[in-house]
């Protein structure tokens, strides 16, 4: 497979790998940094990382695909992570999940690039006494009712317009 490298992207990815001394054991840290910058791990980025760390592309891809956090496609504008594990189930997280799917007119899983919102199921955010819990970027929300869910989405939309 021929993977074209985005030459404008290359210096940045190289810089991230350098920051981690191009060490293979820091691969997860490198991938986190790339994803924080680009939103996902592109084929081009993967190739550069593999080269910098002197590992095969297959190995790098194997790592990327193993972990739920890493994406290979561009993300939606915001990803809402809803906890669907037991402690949140006990206080209605499944109902919240269905409500979220219905109001946002999307399904759990990878939403299209640039979509308004994407929904991602996560299994525990460590907020088990104050469920249902959800997280957007690094902001954690507890006791999320449908009303609070709507309010949070509206806040997100308002912030984007500003």
């Amino acid at each position: 497979m021929v993977t074209l490298i985005d030459t404008s992207q290359e210096p940045l990815i190289r810089e991230i790998c350098d920051r981690h001394q191009n060490k293979p054991d820091e691969l997860l840290e490198i991938l986190h940094d790339i994803q924080a910058t680009d939103g996902y791990i592109s084929d081009g980025a993967l190739k550069i990382v593999a080269d910098a760390l002197n590992i095969s592309r297959a190995e790098a891809h194997g790592v990327v695909s193993f972990y739920h956090d890493f994406r290979r496609t561009a993300p939606p504008q915001a990803t809402i992570k809803i906890c669907r594990a037991e402690a949140c189930q006990a206080v209605g997280s499944e109902e919240l999940a269905h409500y979220a799917e219905a109001t946002l007119n999307t399904k759990f899983g990878d939403a299209a690039e640039g979509a308004d919102f994407g929904l991602k199921a996560v299994y525990c955010l460590g907020n088990c006494a104050l469920g249902p819990a959800m997280m957007i970027d690094e902001t954690l929300y507890g006791r999320v009712t449908p009303e609070r869910f709507d309010a949070v989405c509206e806040d997100q939309r308002t912030n984007r317009r500003q």
Binding site: K23, P24, D25, E26, L27, L28, E29, L31, H32, G62, V63, F66, Y67, H68, D69, F70, C83, A85, E86, A87, C88, Q89, A90, V91, V122, Y123, C124, L125, G126, N127, C128, A129, L130, G131, A133, M135, E138, T139, L140, Y141, G142, R143
Partner: protein
């Protein structure tokens, strides 16, 4: 009282999730408006999560608690004179007199919620660093012996004696050894590791340095799950502060010992809470489980002798060294020595963290501490010990919370999570979810877990649909036996526990 009044507003993620930042901002604004000087301290959580955001005011009589305080309650608190402990509908009197808190025995969490998490002098003023100072005067064997004598067992869930693990790593030859802290707290219903890292991060760092001194390791890693961004930030900052104070260096306080700690972030894989999988992940690989032996204490990270301990295990060692093994082992019951931070979660009126000696009953946790359900609907079941733990019916709540008593009842203590379900729960759906969760999170290395989970989910679907019930129950029973006996690790090996306990205690939910 001279100077400005100290007001505590937690920065714990759970408190933030219900508006602690907004509350803190409202308090600052209201004080400014009234021209009152206050000093807002962002502490960890006291663990009374149903009262979050729990605001405390330091008065000459002690800290007075108000909660839950929303931003729009703040004006009325000022009007009620809360800065001098004034009465208010949200007032709970002295924090330490609240029954939920007063009835605990806080050892591991003694400082959590009390101090400013990132103030090293505050940490030291509340007993911090005493254990490490002591350890610096001891021989490695003496440190290991103290940990062994304390009876401390691994708090991650398996309950393996910490001292035995340390002794093995100490005896293992090699100049290069590692201390790896497992902070991949993925079990639903557990949040103690997160609370400790956010509320008292130095205690974990202190524990890791002690472990390093004990086994002759000079490098530590803390593997924190990515779902905990607040804990990651706090721990990173704590490492910087601990390092600049000389406690992480090439020459700790001039005594010739060295230790350094690195923070690593997971990437959303539940299985990385399993130690061999976590070590693979720390090496930058897929988090696949490895066959044991060799055990990590002999050959772990990068093939070197490695201690893998949970956050709570490591954070408990400072107090053991500071106060002596006997002080710690005087708490507890039977072979379960010391205290366990239990976490009350799910549909519970007073959810939060309860640290108490082993031996407390499940009923005391759910009813006395927890106050029953938050919804008011009667309790039907508890899942103890995370997603791989058993479902326990209300009739089984008199079990003592020790490793042994739980095992005797076909359940497990795990990492101390207690998830309460009300009467509306469908236990067949919960059993199916256990298999589904295993399917989603299996690392794929061994067949019983990878394939068994999928087949298990399908069989439960057929039972629910009332297809050939007897045969399908028999298949499920066979499958559970196979997964238990033949899986490489606890993921596949324990998934049958919630499934079979649900069938055993709640057969009426499985159709028919």
């Amino acid at each position: 009282m001279g100077g400005s009044v100290k007001v505590y507003v937690p920065c714990d993620a759970a408190a933030l999730s219900v508006g602690a930042d907004e509350t803190a901002a409202a308090i600052a604004a209201a004080a400014k408006k009234r021209n009152i000087k206050i000093d807002i301290v962002r502490n960890g959580s006291r663990g009374m999560l149903w009262l979050e955001p729990l605001v405390e005011v330091a008065t000459p009589d002690g800290r007075i608690a108000y909660g839950p305080v929303r931003a729009d309650d703040v004006e009325t608190l000022f009007d009620a004179g809360f800065l001098s402990g004034g009465d208010h509908t949200l007032a709970h009197g002295k924090t330490e007199d609240i029954a939920y808190f007063a009835n605990q025995q806080r050892l591991t969490f003694m400082r959590c919620g009390v101090i400013d998490p990132l103030d090293l002098s505050d940490y030291e003023a509340h007993g911090g660093l005493a254990g490490l100072r002591k350890a610096l005067t001891m021989a490695p064997e003496e440190i290991v012996d103290a940990v062994t004598a304390s009876g401390l067992r691994g708090r991650g869930g398996a309950g393996f004696p910490a001292g035995v693990k340390w002794k093995t790593a100490l005896a293992a030859p090699g100049a290069e050894k590692y201390i790896c802290c497992n902070a991949d707290e993925g079990d639903s219903g557990t949040f103690a590791d997160r609370m400790l890292m956010e509320g008292d991060p130095f205690s974990l760092l202190e524990g890791m340095v002690i472990a390093g001194l004990a086994v002759g390791a000079e490098t530590g890693f803390i593997y924190i799950r990515s779902e905990y961004p607040h804990a990651i930030r706090t721990m990173r900052r704590a490492v910087e502060l601990f390092s600049s104070a000389g406690w992480l260096s090439d020459d700790i306080t001039g005594g010739g010992k060295r230790f350094d700690i690195h923070i690593r972030v997971g990437a959303g894989a539940y299985i990385c809470g399993e130690e061999s999988s976590m070590l693979e992940s720390l090496e930058g690989k897929r988090g696949q489980v490895k066959v044991k032996p060799p055990i990590p204490a002999i050959s772990g990270l990068f093939g070197k002798p490695t201690i893998v301990n949970n956050v709570l295990t490591l954070a408990t060692t400072p107090i053991i060294l500071a106060k002596g093994a006997e002080y710690y082992s005087n708490f507890g019951d039977g072979k379960s020595r010391g205290t366990q931070p239990f976490q009350l979660a799910g549909d519970i009126a007073r959810g939060g963290l309860v640290e108490t000696a082993f031996g407390v009953t499940l009923r005391e946790l759910v009813e006395t501490f927890g106050g029953g359900t938050r919804s008011g609907i009667p309790v039907r079941a508890v899942q103890a010990g995370g997603p791989l733990g058993a479902y326990i019916p209300a009739s089984g709540f008199d079990v003592a919370m020790t490793y042994e008593a739980m095992a005797a009842d076909g359940a497990m203590l795990g990492h101390g999570g207690v998830v309460v379900f009300n009467d509306s729960v469908d236990m067949a759906r919960q059993a199916r979810f256990a298999m589904e969760f295993c399917e989603i999170e299996s690392c794929g290395k061994c067949t019983p877990c990878r394939i068994g989970a999928v087949r298990g989910k399908e069989v439960i679907d057929r039972i629910i649909a009332n297809e050939s019930r007897d045969q399908n129950f028999e298949i499920l029973s066979d499958l559970c036996g196979l997964m238990t006996d033949a899986s490489l690790c606890a993921m596949g090996g324990l998934t049958p526990m919630p499934v079979q306990s649900a069938i055993k205690h709640f057969p009426e939910d499985f159709g028919g």
